[in-house]
Amino acid sequence: MMSLYQSPRSRKLRIVSILGGEEMRRRLFALGFHQDDVIEVDSQAILKGPLLVKNLTSDMSVAIGRGIAQKILVEVMPDEK
């Protein structure tokens, strides 16, 4: 288990838990980010910028800032095939 911020790029990840304040969690829920969703980090902007995260469960892309990405715990899913 690791924070989304440290997780490897372009690998399927499962959201284990979302830490952080109620306000932030509510915003993530509203954008369709929930526990157990499968996500993937596609890209990161330069200079410790935000992550581009694709939620494969609800099929949407969201830019997530560093501070928030550190509060999302994920685990790498075993490779299919």
Partner: protein, 642 residues
């Protein structure tokens, strides 16, 4: 609303094509109100369809009915206070799973509802096939497939809407897992009989459980301690059963139900090769390549506007110049001559100087907006915005500000924190809007060359950064982090971009142009009665000693408050020369000082009004003071080093 026609509300998540749908419906319109800056809350249109009137209201996009920013609160106000006769829920078919979360929440209201399943073409491209009858069956709500951008499905949607209004169409709330359902139902039963019920008892109970602590429960404890106890009990029970917060459990219930419905009613075939938008996106959002592209887009933006605007300006102005040169022969030099001269200058200024730049600018803005580039710029620039104490979500309002500051300030409603809103709203008036771009292009690019104008632009943006940096010293609370949806890239439709551009051009012609004409006629009259000398000598300490400009320009600076372009048109009038001959009376440096002062000196009347309305009197006056100070400072500096 004055008439008794049924009220139809359009609700949907951001980027679901709701406004496009609204425009497609309002295409049938009899009368519409769409004044930028006055109808800031929503767009409202009285639509005449087959002889029947409908009040159609387009609300800002919202992810859920638990608002997290001021734009989303507007949605709730409308839903609850002006109880609509019908809801049209616009759903993005290409992201069915998460879009249905809002649909489920709307069903809880049990208001009559029709679902417009929009952008089905996009869904098909993504390999998604939706079984419409099945979806309709599961949801218990009429589902109409539409492609709003091409006007497809609109007729069927309206027929379904009328059917719903005439015959009624009962909607029932979705039920959740038993353990959660029990608690909600128990709480609904315990609501006191005189309690203010929104929509229905169950919905009210859910919202009480879901609401944030201070939002409902501190107030509730004061009014009704017993009910507060029941709400707390329901929450505690849910939390005990599921070992997570009650609001989270309810959000998860909707999430899972929505995913389940989406799986039942649609099939996804994974496409092999990457589609064009994915490939384009991987370049646009590339951590390194993205930045030169961003800079390139900005440069292209600038040069296209100049390349189109500049020659067009020459062509459009020539007949007016010819007309003007024949005037003294026809009318002599009396009052009539001055009146007609002012009138022609105002008309020519609007059509000949402003329009050639305004049209390409609005069109390119519409292109960037419709493409979905604004959010991408937000992603790329987030890091830099952090240096200003803001984050990437403010980028979109800033970019909109290049079109017009008024909608830009309204769009700060999408920012969650009040602090971010204040800083962003104070910075937006420094963004060179279309009016000021016109001035920069028509003066600096025309007399000094396009590279100088570009330099002015770059300086302007650096200035915004510096002011932002200074402002954050006074606002210490940290900004909440970035969570920003990156919508799918969409190939903008030409008709849509043209429609958008024309709507804005129309509003320019209807509201701004008369001010330009009126302003130059007033100046003509002032000149005839020699009143201008009086005002100019009053202002001359500032204008002549302070800015080093000819004293005749004094009044023109003041009139810039009404419309920034008015300063430009009045300047020509006050100097008494043709556009081509300005450099015979003032120097290049004076041109730059004039442009800088007009650009930065107090926000124009509409911007000031919208600042007042959105952010309060204090922020409006703070902004006026700040920009006056900056305008003076910058003008002095240019004079000093120029």
């Amino acid at each position: 609303m004055k008439n008794n026609s049924p009220v139809v509300i359009l609700i949907g998540q951001p980027n679901c094509g709701k406004s496009t749908l609204f425009n497609a419906i309002a295409g049938y319109k009899a009368e519409t109100s769409n004044f930028p800056g006055t109808t800031v809350k929503h767009t409202h249109s009285v639509v005449n369809i087959q002889g029947r009137l409908l009040n159609v209201i387009d609300l800002p996009g919202t992810y859920s009915l638990n608002p997290s920013d001021p734009a989303e609160k507007v949605v709730l106000t409308h839903l609850f206070q002006e109880r609509p006769d019908l809801i049209i829920n616009v759903v993005d078919a290409s992201t069915l799973g998460r879009s249905l979360e809002l649909t489920l929440e709307l069903r809880e209201l049990e208001y009559p509802m029709v679902v417009a399943l929009n952008m089905i073409d996009l869904a098909e491209k993504k390999g998604i096939t939706i079984d419409f009858p099945k979806l309709e069956n599961i949801l218990g709500v009429k589902v109409i497939p539409t492609i709003a951008a091409y006007g497809r499905g609109i007729k069927e949607l309206l027929e379904a809407a009328f059917h719903c209004l005439d015959e009624g169409c009962p909607v029932s709330s979705p039920r959740w897992s038993k353990d959660v359902e029990e608690e909600v139902e128990r709480l609904a039963d315990k609501l006191p009989p005189d309690f203010f019920v929104v929509a229905n008892r169950r919905f009210t109970a859910i919202k009480l459980v879901e609401a944030s602590q201070q939002f409902c429960c501190e107030v509730l404890a004061e009014i009704d301690p017993l009910l507060k106890k029941n709400v707390d009990l329901a929450k505690a029970n849910i939390e005990k059963k599921r070992s997570s917060a009650a609001y989270e459990v309810i959000a998860a219930e909707r999430h899972h139900l929505a995913l389940k419905i989406s799986e039942q009613s649609s099939r996804v075939q994974r496409r092999g090769p990457l589609s064009w938008d994915k490939r384009l996106d991987s370049i646009l959002m590339h951590p390194v390549l993205g930045y030169p592209i961003l800079a390139g887009i900005f440069l292209a933006f600038f040069f296209i506007i100049f390349r189109i605007g500049n020659p067009l300006e020459g062509v459009l102005l020539r007949p007016f110049d010819n007309l003007k040169s024949t005037l003294p022969g026809l009318l002599g030099s009396g009052l009539l001559y001055h009146l007609v001269d002012g009138l022609i200058l105002g008309i020519a200024g609007g059509i000949g100087i402003v329009l050639p730049y305004l049209f390409p600018l609005l069109f390119l803005m519409a292109f960037l907006e419709d493409l979905g580039y604004l959010a991408r710029a937000g992603f790329l620039l987030d890091t830099f915005m952090h240096r200003l104490g803001l984050h990437g979500k403010s980028v979109s309002p800033f970019i909109l500000g290049f079109g017009c500051n008024v909608p830009a300030i309204i769009s700060t409603r999408t920012l969650e924190s009040q602090r971010d809103r204040i800083i962003t709203s104070l910075l937006i008036p420094f963004i060179p809007c279309s009016a000021r771009t016109t001035i920069i292009l028509a003066l600096i690019a025309f007399y000094l060359g396009p590279l100088w104008a570009l330099g002015f632009y770059v300086f302007n943006i650096l200035l915004v950064a510096v002011i932002g940096r200074v402002l954050t010293i006074f606002f210490r609370t940290p900004s909440p982090g970035l969570i920003l949806e990156i919508p799918t890239l969409k190939l903008p439709s030409l008709t849509n971009m043209l429609k958008k551009t024309c709507l804005q051009l129309k509003s320019f012609l209807r509201f701004a142009w008369p001010i330009l004409i009126g302003g130059s006629v007033v100046l003509s009259l002032f000149q005839f009665f020699h009143l201008d000398k009086f005002f100019n000598s009053l202002l001359s300490p500032l204008v002549v000693q302070g800015l080093g400009l000819p004293r005749e320009l004094g009044m023109t600076l003041i009139f810039g408050f009404l419309r920034k372009e008015l300063s430009l048109i009045m300047m020509l009038q006050a100097l008494g020369v043709n556009y081509q001959d300005v450099l015979t009376v003032i120097s290049r440096q004076q041109v730059v000082v004039f442009t800088a002062f007009v650009s930065f000196f107090i926000p124009c009347l509409s911007t000031f009004a919208v600042l007042w309305k959105e952010m309060g009197k204090k922020v409006a006056f703070l902004s006026a003071g700040l920009s006056t100070a900056v305008a003076l400072l910058v003008s002095f500096l240019i004079r000093l080093f120029g």
